[in-house]
Symmetry: C2
Subunit: 703 residues, 2 copies
């Protein structure tokens, strides 16, 4: 049936939105991707996976958990070639893209190459590393790894893990053992059905003495038969909220022996005689964590952009209510409230993107500085200070960026009305897949408190006159606490606003902390009691940090139309967040009540301004139809046609009704008499009454 289309069609509408953008989309896109090379590579990766059958995405909503997992393994095989031949930089960009397109697979892949291989890289001696690489860790030809850290009863508290690794001198082995149910390794990605080896975190015990948690490479399955090795019990963790393409499992070890040489000994060594040598300093793991968090900031931006690409395109073509009779209905995007729903989120996604890019550069610089640093380097303290500060800030960034992205996905879903609830809109899967980002690699609330703790420390340094690292240098400015707006609402006014308010909330947390210390609490207790204030400090500091990095990036750019737009976007981000958290700005007097009203007006205006170029701006996010995998966000605007086609393709009518005869027919055919009818009882009552009447009458007639 060929349906006529109403005019203008959704496709025509989207084409009109794209006509004559006031800036160059390609140039804007390059700026957002950091370089032309990064953009070109991304386009290449997108084309590759769009054509690869294992990366088919349109049918993903209707696959069972088992089908998803099997497909994950097909993708795994297709990636081995790249991991063994591409440069790390190129491959990282490829993985970043996979992370947006297919988070389930990304996770399985990350477990093998990020976590398992990462554990070897950071924990193995050079010879140990060579050994495992020879065994086939890179090409998966011999070793498919997983990462067995978390236990059923222990997640965040890694030091509290309860799996034991007891040294047996006679056999020169460690005995890995799960002492009770709570110590069962849990959530282990890849364990359920695809890993041969695990990096097992366990409490090392030598001669009865506990040495804390170390890592032991433990074989789980025979590589020829895939049978579990003796003493290894593995089960499937089953259904999850999202990421069902990865086979998370649980593992219980019952006195499993691993050779002593399979303990990773870069830091702590155990000799043949059971002599334990511990490293002079605690392991320097800042760098490793920083890498993960940096990529999560980028992923938050990218995932938010993916959801927004769908929501904004849909809002441009969806029409609802007309302003007059016989007039064409209004595009959702033309409603001020709809602009309010989406444009600030667009600004936030762009802000997180630039923050991610700059973090990446900082991270690379630091890694290089650390790699080349000598123990007696005169800049050692400076570098370590900067590292510590960035590490703490990145904890807050991980938390607030992942939260912001999760929130964005759900707001985008809601902004598409009922259709956002269809699996084929892809919002449900995006949400379900992304949700875990708020929990893993450190629960967001706990990370926020860590960031807050560091800020309290920085404040302590500032009042002692210590020169602080760049991220918190504003605390060194004695005038910042009492700064006032110059009423311009310019980028510099906004930045000062955030610094003023951040300094005040940090000061509040620090003062609470000190007062609890003075009242006799321990440091840990005092920190716990001021948790809420630490949390607020981290929240405000983090938004200010994102704004500053975004602003710096934009101000370094050439003065052109793209930069002009990005400045508008930066302003929208900064002012919208001020509006969202206006309480602090009023409380610390940076803005007056009248100025806050002006902020609201200005945000309205900026939303309308960004709306004007919303479609070209979204296009610059450069996400293919294959990646966004949502008919509602189709590039050409053929929203309803694509949606209908996908629904039809995914849901063919079965030849026979699956349960009509068993369940529906008996209901429909049921006669009322088939059921005991309370009415029958009532009819009996009537009859009884009639009988009684008759008897009365009979009795009276006898008289």
């Amino acid at each position: 049936m060929a349906f006529p289309r109403p005019k203008p069609t959704t496709m025509e509408t989207l084409a009109m939105e794209r006509a004559n953008p006031p800036f160059n989309i390609r140039k804007l896109s390059i700026a957002m991707h950091g370089s032309e090379k990064a953009l070109v590579l991304k386009e290449k990766f997108m084309a590759e996976i769009a054509r690869h059958p294992a990366f088919k995405l349109s049918d993903i909503h209707d696959l069972s958990k088992d089908e998803l997992r099997e497909r994950t393994m097909e993708k795994f095989a297709s990636m081995v070639y790249f991991v063994t031949t591409e440069s790390l930089e190129t491959f990282s960009l490829r993985m970043q893209l996979i992370g947006i397109a297919d988070p389930s697979f990304w996770t399985r892949f990350g477990v093998a190459y990020g976590l398992f291989l990462g554990a070897l890289r950071s924990g193995a001696t050079p010879n140990q590393l060579s050994y495992w690489i020879d065994k086939g860790v890179l090409g998966l030809n011999g070793v498919i790894g997983c990462f067995a850290m978390t236990e059923l009863a222990h997640g965040s508290n890694v030091a509290g893990l309860e799996t034991t690794a007891t040294f047996d001198r006679d056999s020169d082995t460690f005995v890995i053992h799960t002492p009770h149910l709570g110590a069962t390794k849990w959530w282990i990605g890849g364990a359920a059905s695809t890993a041969t080896h695990a990096a097992v975190f366990a409490q090392m015990i030598v001669d009865g003495k506990k040495y804390g948690v170390k890592t032991f490479v433990t074989q789980l399955r025979d590589t020829k038969t895939f049978q579990l090795l003796p003493g290894v019990t593995i089960g499937d963790i089953g259904k999850k909220m999202g990421r069902d393409g990865i086979d998370n499992g649980y593992i219980q070890f019952t006195y499993v022996r691993v050779p002593r040489a399979h303990m990773l000994m870069k830091h702590t060594q155990v000799s043949r005689d059971g002599l334990v040598t511990e490293p002079p300093l605690a392991q320097l793991t800042y760098g490793a964590l920083l890498g993960g968090r940096t990529s999560m900031v980028a992923d938050s931006s990218n995932s938010a952009k993916k959801a927004l690409t769908v929501a904004v395109r849909y809002a441009a073509v969806r029409r609802q209510f007309s302003s007059g009779k016989n007039e064409i209905e209004t595009q959702l995007l033309d409603y001020p409230i709809h602009q309010r729903r989406l444009m600030p989120l667009v600004a936030q996604a762009v802000a997180m993107g630039f923050t991610g890019l700059r973090l990446q550069v900082m991270y690379e610089q630091m890694t290089q500085a650390l790699d080349t640093m000598e123990p007696n380097d005169p800049n050692l303290n400076d570098i370590l200070d900067k590292l510590k500060e960035t590490h703490a800030t990145s904890a807050g960034l991980k938390a607030f960026c992942t939260w912001a992205c999760l929130d964005t996905i759900d707001k985008c879903r809601q902004s598409c009305g009922g259709h956002g609830y269809s699996a084929y809109s892809n919002f449900p899967l995006m949400y379900a897949d992304f949700a875990v980002q708020c929990t893993w690699e450190g629960d967001n609330t706990i990370l926020s408190l860590q960031a807050g703790r560091s800020l309290v420390g920085a404040w302590g340094g500032a009042i002692k006159g210590k020169k602080l690292a760049p991220g918190v240098a504003y605390l060194n400015d004695p005038a910042i606490l009492t700064a006032k707006s110059d009423s311009s609402l310019s980028l510099s006014d906004i930045q000062r606003a955030w610094q003023c308010v951040a300094a005040n909330v940090i000061k509040k947390a620090a003062e609470e902390y000190v007062s609890h210390l003075k009242s006799g609490k321990s440091k840990d207790q005092a920190m716990e009691i001021c948790s809420q204030s630490r949390f607020i400090a981290a929240k405000v500091h983090t938004v200010g940090y994102i704004f500053r990095l975004f602003r710096e990036a934009v101000e370094e750019m050439d003065d052109n139309e793209e930069t002009k737009l990005l400045k508008t976007v930066a302003r929208l981000y900064g002012l919208w967040q001020i509006e969202e958290q206006q309480g602090y700005f009023l409380k610390y007097g940076y803005f007056t009540a009248q100025q806050i009203d002006k902020v609201q007006d200005y945000v309205d205006k900026l939303c309308a301004e960004v709306r004007g170029v919303a479609i070209p701006l979204i296009d610059s996010f450069a996400l293919s139809d294959h990646i966004i995998n949502s008919p509602l966000g189709k590039w050409d605007g053929s929203v309803y046609e694509s949606y209908f086609a996908q629904v039809q393709a995914a849901n063919p009518t079965p030849k026979e009704h699956p349960y009509f005869n068993r369940l529906i027919k008996p209901l429909l055919d049921r006669q009322n008499e088939d059921m005991e009818d309370p009415g029958e009882a009532m009819a009996l009552e009537e009859e009884l009454k009639e009988l009684e009447e008759e008897r009365k009458e009979a009795a009276s007639s006898k008289k």
Copy 2:
């Protein structure tokens, strides 16, 4: 394998939390349920479904969409007995419980009895209603109904629906037709595979004239064979975010004829000759909408309580980090930040519960007043005013309560760390099922704006000296705009705070509206431009309204320990929300910056206080283990054992690995030589160099 358990066990911990509560849990529970009768009925319903095989819930996460739907139909059959024999009051309570336990089934049931039967009740003449009841609408023995309103391109704008119903005088029928793809009926619950008839909303056309949207009962399938009737095309909408147990479908009509008598004619009539009689006044539909919204407020409270029951019990037994060496780890619930994460949400759920109860009473009173009202009733205007106000307020309540609940579910999930991401925690399904509440029965944002529009109107009335309906009567108080806190942070101080701030934000919205009118905008345009301020007005008014209803309920209670606790909870709710929205309180000067700091301290304190009785308080929500369906929230605290048992039961190890031979073995067995190695190319270069060297040497030796 019998594992030893660490001491104290999670079960012992939960038992300790329950020892000696300072109030009577049963009495508190009765207060929360409105009456002892309601609580006893709920317990009866819970016992019934816990024992009914169709209501098995523990395996629900691993059922396919098709299996879920088949089970829905089993439940449907089991409910017919109750719907035909129970009083409406009892049955409504039963449905409320089903709504918490099993939202998918609730929806299928609601489509038949709420929407389809509701459409008949509100739109059919008495004879039409009898006709359909005789046909079997109540017992499903002859008619299984669905509700065909929404179209692919039209949701919120019902007046804009495009399906046509054209009167054909010759055959005395209406011709129902889908003119183009966008007019396809979409999301129609029950259409895909279980309905025989639909209440179809279509544009009525008689003699070429359009009369707006009317309802036509249209048969979809033969009741004997279940084959689609001629001209009816139906397809399955497929996977959704949640509620996959209901078979949503699409319907396209191609010139389908229905008898004229199947148009519902209570309001508009069409005679045999095609004479159209329209009702003198627009349909009074306030009442019907109000009922749905009232039940959504109750459902928001109940669903939030379900999530919180799991999260709070888990937080009581989960331990993480110890404060000293060899000390037992701390219960999550003892961390101030964890109290902050959950206790305000508990208070909010309780507040919404009392609001729902009071709304229900108001709704029943109004329905009665409307039913008995005569056209010349002297109280007519008062009643209508009150109805209109409650109708507008209920729009805001629906929006902000469903948002609050959705937010609560996800915060509860996150508060359980990684385990919250397991399907078996039940949070993923709770979230996915509940999410649609923010969209259907009016998109939350649009409803908020409707509430805001009404508040702007109320303000206009207030400044003209009109006596307002109870919900907005505070706008009549001339002193409210400039009220100040008496620093007590008492319940009355809090209530005044909300009224002061609500009055100010409403005034702001109203003034913006008037200024746009003065600048020449139309009423609709002016309303659109001040959307953001209207939204804020609705948000603040609604929280204040919830707080007021909660407070009123609590202050009417006897003075006892349960009431004392509820007052603490009310205070926590009111103050926490002040903290969340502190900007308005500072902006309008109700609180000073110092007082706001006190609010934060007080919220900390109240969180700790409520934490002290958190487990007994949660127990008073009276939700069975079957209903909450989450091992993490088991009543007896056997969290890990139950979780492990459920994971094992749901995921038996398959006899054979499903894809080892096809996908994993080839990877593991692959020799490095199997892949083209760029290293080979490099070896060739070396060889070439060697050859060149040799040639050179040979050449030089010749010299």
